[in-house]
Subunit: 409 residues, 4 copies
């Protein structure tokens, strides 16, 4: 039923050395058009505005997640003997396909799309697609099985945890990958050692105590990547312009729809409550970017300006905001300068705690297997993590506005 490929397929990858594929169904999914489409979606929405080499796609990240899942289910002792071949294939496929529903510019696009990307991911797996056909040919239940892991609802909880927990394949791949492609060293941690000290105990992924330093390192890598890369002010500036452009598009659609004729790719997301899976397929980043190219010459001056800012990197400036009054003051000054603050002031709050145990949700904690055989939550065992858990949560609230205005606070 689960056919092997003739010989193991390998794909060179700077993070993992090689991606190894020896299940035909995985190989077929990689070659399906919905998966190939991920080559046309950047992994990091606006980050390559800051780190100019962070131009990698969700295609390579998805292969990386698959590879880590594959290694977990074949290498982690205690686990490899617990899972059937079918379960292993299911969770590998879930790792591979978990991002297949992404639209352009990740989260910002959801300002225009009525449907979040997670829903599209499930639809690409369950509706009439090449991927669905490939999965169904192996087993009629396989699409639902794969989708249930992605929605964190598979009855065998360990499968959910492998793909999305606190120490999951998704996060481990993106931290390492984004560090490599930004050229920073912040996101590095010792994946080999994490895999070597992982165990499967009490239906949970646990880390042997001897690997705890590596996990501390991983927690810190995450913390640094968030603040240095993902929450970088210029990343957020680019994304705030995107959000504003989509917001303006919606307004224009209601007032002067004919203006949008030059950018037909956006229409299904404005017109329909539920754009089709085919609409979604066609809405990749080249479509959106070409749309902005056309809109940068359209008749609505605000939409034209915002579109051209995106293409030519005329980013918004930012200022720290400590209260709602601060924000009001920025709005007033932007308005005084002749800009419509509705589209020219964006406020955005970033916050992140490196790690926080969830007392209610077991699967979202990191568990440690101590030398004497107990399983304990990470922050109870690690002084460093304990210090961080008890510490203050870092917050950063900013307002974004056109650079030519001199904001006074």
């Amino acid at each position: 039923m689960l056919k092997k490929t003739e010989e193991t397929k390998v794909m060179r990858d700077p993070i993992h050395g090689y991606i190894h594929i020896d299940l035909q169904v995985v190989w077929d999914c990689v070659n399906a058009k919905e998966f190939q489409r991920l080559r046309r979606i950047h992994q990091l929405g606006g980050n390559f505005q800051v780190y100019h080499t962070a131009e990698h796609s969700r295609f390579s990240h998805s292969l990386g997640v698959y590879e880590i899942v594959r290694r977990i289910v074949t290498e982690v002792s205690g686990l490899r003997d617990q899972l059937s071949e079918y379960e292993k294939a299911t969770v590998m496929l879930a790792g591979l396909l978990h991002d297949v529903g992404h639209g352009p510019f990740s989260h910002a696009f959801e300002a225009i799309s009525p449907v979040p990307h997670e829903q599209y991911t499930v639809r690409v797996i369950l509706e009439d697609t090449e991927i669905n056909a490939i999965l169904k040919a192996v087993d009629p239940h396989l699409p639902e099985q794969v989708a249930s892991i992605i929605t964190y609802s598979h009855p065998k909880d360990i499968l959910n945890q492998i793909v999305s927990g606190q120490l999951d394949a998704d996060r481990m791949d993106y931290l390492l990958r984004d560090a490599y492609f930004t050229g920073t060293s912040y996101g590095n941690f010792d994946l080999e050692r994490i895999l070597r000290t992982m165990r499967f105990v009490d239906d949970k992924i646990v880390m042997k105590e001897s690997g705890i330093h590596t996990v501390e390192d991983y927690i810190m890598a995450r913390y640094h990547m968030y603040w240095q890369v993902y929450f970088h002010p210029m990343t957020r500036s680019y994304e705030s312009i995107l959000t504003m452009a989509f917001k303006r598009m919606r307004t224009v659609y209601h007032t002067h729809p004919e203006i949008l004729n030059c950018a037909p790719m956006f229409l299904p997301f404005l017109e329909k409550e539920m754009p089709s899976i085919h609409d979604h397929f066609k809405m990749d980043e080249p479509a959106a970017l070409y749309g902005f190219t056309c809109l940068s010459e359209c008749e609505d001056p605000i939409l034209a300006d915002l579109s051209s800012r995106l293409l030519n990197r005329r980013l918004f400036e930012c200022v720290d905001i400590h209260s709602d009054e601060d924000l009001q003051s920025v709005i007033q000054q932007v308005s005084d300068a002749g800009y419509d603050p509705e589209y020219y002031v964006a406020s955005d709050e970033a916050f992140q705690r490196p790690y926080k145990p969830y007392h209610s949700a077991e699967g979202h904690n990191i568990w440690v297997l101590t030398a004497n055989g107990e399983v304990r939550e990470l922050s109870e065992v690690s002084d460093i993590v304990q210090a961080i858990v008890c510490g203050q949560m870092k917050e950063d609230r900013k307002a974004f506005y056109p650079k030519d205005i001199q904001i006074k606070m």
Copy 2:
């Protein structure tokens, strides 16, 4: 005249650590819209079909070339004192801007465009663009000066050599960068040591004999990158489909032009003898890819099929060709299978010699400064290079055709 930036601007880069910019004119060019457009052109046309992480753009490569030029003119002893500040700025700008005229998919696009990309580069610098305005504001002659280096015709020959010779900033950046982003080790060589052993003697860049092993390593890196990456059969397969798609587009334009209405971005290149610099600006990779998305649903079945092959990676298969008869045989078999060989057979010959001294063109040789002060051509001094120069030139001729046909040779 050559204003400094307030403080040195640095941009994180995995190849060079940081890109350092301290001339305002360079910084302004980086922020010009024609340069920002390079973010939307991949560095490697079809290579990311083989090496899935080779998704970097000409934007980051151009910054890298600039950085190497900057280091050459400020670090190479003998040279830094020979060039005026104006000449240094000119050659740095030439390095930065040398690829600014590229269209989508590099060479394949020239199947449709009546003008090669080098001409566009010069036009972007000399015609009415943001870049031209920035350069002219510094000095009315600066645009011509920069362009003359790019066309290898600056009267001070050393400036031409720095940007395009046998050991030039362009090639050194792309080998290192492409190696990093493909995740292969083939393209690595010791840039630090090359820069440390470079000298300027007799109006030429020369390498101290003590650095000769590093140059041998560079020659080999080049050889391996060509055969393992640039000439990879699947890269050439993708590019041959691109070429065929553009060829078909031109036919359709003459027979059923209305079919192309869904992809208006291609029209200027079909209609005009000399597309404008604005047409060129708008023709980036997102435009072309969105065009193929639309064409993949068009009424011409050949153009629709070729477009969808590009998007969904349904590449052509290939076979080695040793004679014109071999090629004829492939054409016949493809025709027998019901395909139009005009668009479904591509033949392509790749050849490369790792290094070849040009007896007529001094600037294109690599020169070595021997321990006793003589300047000699590399192959006279290096046994390895001598062996390679006398050896056979590697050739590889292939025909490409749809995978579902079983070609017999």
Copy 3:
């Protein structure tokens, strides 16, 4: 007075790329026999018992410290213009020579030597040595100047801080170097960025706030290296055997001195209150190791056994100790097994807090220059460091004993 070398001398180094030397006095010190002796002292006493590739010497570390000092005084803005050429040379020499008095196996040797290594360092610089002659030839006061930085008593406090503070050249080199040679990734941090964001303000080294994440990374690197490498139980096991061997040697010297005739290199350290600088010169690691080879066949069974354990890596086992009673219990059990606990039980406590501000000693804090120009202590600015400072201090107390005993606790 401060002669330059004819051309810059460079030495290939995996941590810094190259070590650059362009002062003749530095080059002469490198070639002095007391500095060359450091090739015969391992950087990490017992660590290569755990990490088999950590076999690097204090010679390469000392060059690395010099290189970082050189970069700080020539690159840190605010500082390079504040120091005279003489002061720059002095602090570079202090960096180079700060470890020149080390004996074999670093700290363990002080169990036998009546004099700590810091004192020898000062004596090598001030007494009748090649190094002293080289320094004096430049300026009669140079030896005292260099020594005063090493003893943290130079009147210009910034010079002391550069060599030994919380973010000093010594520590930065050894963390990076030890990480490279152990093959772990724990000790990595971004030295380039630390140097780029260092400033000199208010007579202090400060870090620009934009570099704070790199400093947090450095603090964590330090923490991990301590627990994973420097305090590794098997490192401490080896060092406890060394300490015991030296202790036994002292006893044997008092009871049966003739037994030590086979290992004459140790005698000056047992006989004299103040061994000479020549005795010290000859006592390098080969001398000590050859001594143990001879002693492993001597007539005192305890000394012979301990010596052979060192050579053949028959390390002690260890157990966690939570109270003095625990230790007493181990001593009793070792004694019951027929071993003399005086030499066969070692107890050792390791503790380390990643970073702790000293309220009394300014120079030992890490200072941050905030965006609005204030200078504040690191833990006030960094949530992560604040969390760590308030957290518990990690402690680890162990007892070491021969492996063949089954200790019950």
Copy 4:
């Protein structure tokens, strides 16, 4: 018979990530005192005189060779099913132990020792040692089996080839390891890909044609490492002083043996025709270096001077020699300067061809499995290697002499 360890033992290694050991006999050999002694022998005799960080030992190299052998016999398809568990263990042990007979400073020591190191390796395996006991406990024939691979005489020829051929585990480890520890990039090649494209066909190790570029890279890495590292003039200078010191020692032994009483460790090698395995065990690098420390104060001025040159790095200068007359001229000038040329002129010829097929010795060629299933010798398939094979062999003949003499040629 071949007991497994309780769990796989892993040792962190920068070249291989981890060394994996799961056979008890391998683990026991690692812990035998004759193997631990390799920690006290540098891998690169005099190279750390040039590359100051090349301070690694034969201990870590031997573990690396073992690891590559382990991977070859467990990963190379075609091979893993051909070898019995016993044969696999035998060849892994041969890889581990192939250098166990080395004396200090590798080849130079053979100037004093009447027996080459290969003979000692065999004796350590076959005579009364801890290693012999460990092997014999597994199977009485195991020592002979292991030794026969090391002497390239095992009847199953493939086992010999794995440890010492043209593409063997020994060479692959030392090139990668020496490159890492010198900090050069010359020796790098893609071990992963070599292992992935290795096959076992016709009783031979062959490389799939798709891996040929990696093999070319390996050949070049070898070439560069020889000329940049192993044959570096200052390496050869140090080794020529060593050779001279041993030569002088032999003379002094015959004329004034009492002078050598201060360095008793050398005596067995001067007195006996066949030093015992115990003499050999005790003669490690610390013994030799401590011997030179003592001899540097001895009464023979030549031996004292040469010894102190070794310790304090007062290396010989060198000059290129093109004929015997050149050499005679150097000898005359050194003699005129008052030095005894017998001990103060060393001549040395280095030559290396990157790869040369042996028509008579199959096992020493590199074989390629072409796409159509033929097995052909590498230089027939690779243009680059062909060019090198037909090219001239690089030679370098030098004379070494004290630096204070101005030699005129």
